[in-house]
């Protein structure tokens, strides 16, 4: 529907010309051609139901240039607040491009530039989404990660966004494939450098084979006026498991817009999807978790828990759609979103959607919104805790059961520290 599209946006022919030749082989070229046509029609507008709460009007008005055309960006170090993870190989991207000099030596795991022989590219349910089409049209050099057996080292992707004099857009693309029974941990830190806004448009596709397991831990920290619109498409075969935790932090500077959209297709019996997350935002930050779980096969489980702490005039969104196909009997699907407001300024939009065609299923969703309990605050005050310390303790307590969903103890500790850091910065700011 043309009326629901924003046709005036910066990703037209001029953008394509500046992006240069992106040819990567016949198959990818064919995908790009379709995608370019798609983008030519426009970006989703405010009347588009999926994008109602996260309108792209502001983004569409920024004169982004492709990162490849920005010759005044030179990132020589990884920002010091990006954590180091134990037993992980760090792979650094700047504006979507792999930086061997900033990365660990890659060994013991199969990470390659994405190529035309990666037939799995564009095979997840996300392929037709507009922001995925934008990525497909313009991704410069993607990464293909394939896992066999148990991978003892995690892959830690650090994606740094940085603009020069002009705002840049970039489109990181990652494809993860697994052999049956493989186990892989993928950690991602998405950060930005202050300056002009930038637009990160990452797309990650994860194909989980029978009995394979992928653990994914993502942090998006937007401290400037950036746009981070990320889409993940996952398919899970029989008895496979996808366990993800997404953290969104932002607000001490700027007014970033973040959307973390995750689609998981449960294709095999006995598969599991654990999709959890937390966000802590302030200032004018907008943070959106959008999830779509498609239960195509039965006897499978999907569990989601998202918790948000909102300060300033920030805005949170949770859209959770669960579809259970007619023959996906004995599906167990649960979702929960809880928001905690630290001031009277923030707002949230929550939209659970259960579309259930099977009859023998268990589905549940819940959503709550509230502020700190004055009885709790008085109790802590009566034990000598100053108001800021009391609030920090209660906020950490509020987020605790979400963070507990992080299976890896080390990652849990690092993410906990990042949340504590956010709270301390907030304390200093107020």
């Amino acid at each position: 529907m043309a009326a629901s599209l924003i046709s005036a946006h910066p990703f037209g022919d001029a953008y394509a010309a500046k992006a240069g030749t992106l040819s990567a082989g016949a198959r990818i070229d064919a995908l790009r051609k379709v995608a370019r046509t798609e983008i030519g029609r426009g970006l989703p507008g405010p009347k588009n139901e999926e994008w109602r709460f996260t309108p792209l009007n502001a983004l569409s008005r920024v004169g982004f240039i492709p990162a490849a055309a920005a010759d005044d960006v030179d990132v020589t170090v990884v920002p010091s607040d990006v954590p180091r993870f134990e037993r992980a190989i760090r792979v650094v991207l700047v504006n979507g491009t792999f930086q061997p000099d900033l990365s660990d030596k890659i060994s013991g795991i199969d990470i390659r530039p994405l190529s035309d022989s990666d037939a799995a590219l564009g095979q997840t349910a996300t392929a037709n989404l507009p922001l995925v089409a934008l990525n497909t049209a313009f991704f410069a050099n993607g990464l293909a990660i394939s896992a066999k057996g148990h991978q003892p080292l995690a892959v830690h992707i650090v994606s740094i966004g940085a603009s020069g004099a002009e705002p840049v857009a970039f489109h990181p693309r990652v494809l993860v494939t697994t052999a049956p029974g493989a186990e892989l941990t993928l950690i991602e830190s998405h950060v930005g450098l202050p300056g002009q806004p930038y637009f990160a448009n990452p797309v990650t596709e994860i194909l989980i084979a029978e009995d394979a397991r992928v653990h994914r831990y993502v942090t998006v920290t937007e401290d400037c006026d950036a746009f981070h619109i990320a889409t993940t498409g996952v398919t899970v075969a029989a008895r496979g498991c996808f366990a993800a935790f997404h953290l969104g932090l932002g607000g001490s500077r700027g007014e970033g817009t973040v959307r973390q959209e995750i689609h998981a297709r449960v294709e095999g019996e006995g598969a599991q999807v654990h999709l959890n997350g937390a966000y802590a935002i302030g200032g004018g930050v907008h943070h959106d978790f959008t999830t779509v779980i498609d239960h195509v096969a039965g006897g499978a489980l999907s569990k989601q828990m998202f918790k948000g702490v909102l300060d300033g005039k920030s805005h949170g969104v949770y859209q959770g759609r669960v579809r259970v196909a007619e023959n996906a009997q004995q599906t167990d699907a649960r979702q929960l979103h809880r928001a905690l407001f630290l001031t009277a300024g923030p707002s949230v939009d929550v939209k659970p959607e259960l579309e259930i065609a099977a009859d023998d299923v268990q589905c549940a969703h819940g959503a709550t919104t509230g502020s700190l309990d004055p009885d709790h605050l008085f109790f802590l005050a009566a034990r000598g805790l100053d108001p800021e310390t009391a609030r920090m303790l209660l906020v950490e307590g509020f987020l605790a059961d979400a963070l507990e969903q992080i299976g890896d103890a080390h990652v849990r500790e690092v993410f906990g520290r990042q949340v504590a850091g956010w709270l301390q910065r907030r304390g200093g700011a107020s």
Partner: protein, 249 residues
């Protein structure tokens, strides 16, 4: 100088006057009991001493060691040595009891210019105290008061009091919801803290608690006023005769 002096204290909630001129003096080492029927203003008095919001103090003074408590925030009063053991301790999900205890101990230490307590010292201290109070080891790893029985919650309050070593402890119906064994343990915990440089205000509806925590002075409170004061034998008279004669007056 008395440890605590309450002089002609009047407090309102909205338009309703609840405390109608309370005066009370507690010296170091003394245990005072306040007894009274439900709805008489006992919890209001303890909340006003501890600095809870929502009360309009229209007259009177509360002095701790001669210092005006009413001008301090609740947390500053606590750090100055006021401890309120709650009638209904709140459950705080996600905050482990030990994390809370450590934060509370450190708030006090910071006030005294001391460094934060180290992890080993903290564990040793807490282990010793919970043993004396008959608290299970795993309780301190659980979220504060969440899923605790009535008795466990009250023991947790006494544990906090023991660790924070207050100058003035106000116990608001600490006996409510306790079976006799828990009542004995809690009372022993309180008695162990009696000392010349500490004062207690023990609020109760029943005389039973005062068999275990024997007070130096007993006050009867009805309708927002202290209507009679005496020694520990006053509690026994009340138990036998009830509050009727004071309420009628």
């Amino acid at each position: 100088m008395p440890l605590l002096e309450i002089k002609n204290l009047h407090a309102k909630v909205g338009d309703k006057e609840i405390l109608k001129g309370i005066s009370l003096t507690i010296n170091g080492g003394e245990v005072h009991a306040i007894m009274g029927p439900n709805g008489t203003g006992k919890s209001t008095l303890s909340n006003v001493i501890a600095g809870r919001d929502g009360y309009d103090i229209t007259q009177g003074e509360v002095l701790l060691d001669g210092k005006n408590l009413l001008e301090l925030s609740a947390d500053a009063r606590a750090r100055a040595g006021v401890f309120l053991a709650f009638q209904y301790p709140v459950e705080i999900p996600g905050v482990s009891t030990s994390q809370f205890l450590k934060t509370a101990i450190n708030a006090k230490r910071r006030q005294q210019g001391k460094p934060e307590i180290d992890a080993m010292e903290f564990l040793k201290l807490v282990k010793a105290k919970i043993k004396a109070l008959g608290i299970a080891d795993d309780m301190i790893r659980r979220p504060l008061n969440v899923g605790f029985s009535g008795g466990e919650k009250k023991r947790a309050e006494i544990l906090q009091m023991t660790l924070l070593e207050p100058r003035l402890a106000v116990l608001d119906e600490t006996d409510s919801g306790l079976d006799i064994d828990a009542l004995k343990v809690v009372s022993e915990g309180v008695n162990a803290l009696r000392s010349p440089d500490r004062g207690f205000l023990v609020i109760t509806h029943y005389q039973r608690l005062l068999n275990y925590i024997v007070p130096d002075h007993v006050h009867v409170m009805t309708g927002g006023r202290i209507v009679a004061s005496g020694g520990k034998e006053l509690a026994e008279t009340l138990e036998a005769e009830g509050y009727a004669k004071y309420q009628a007056a």
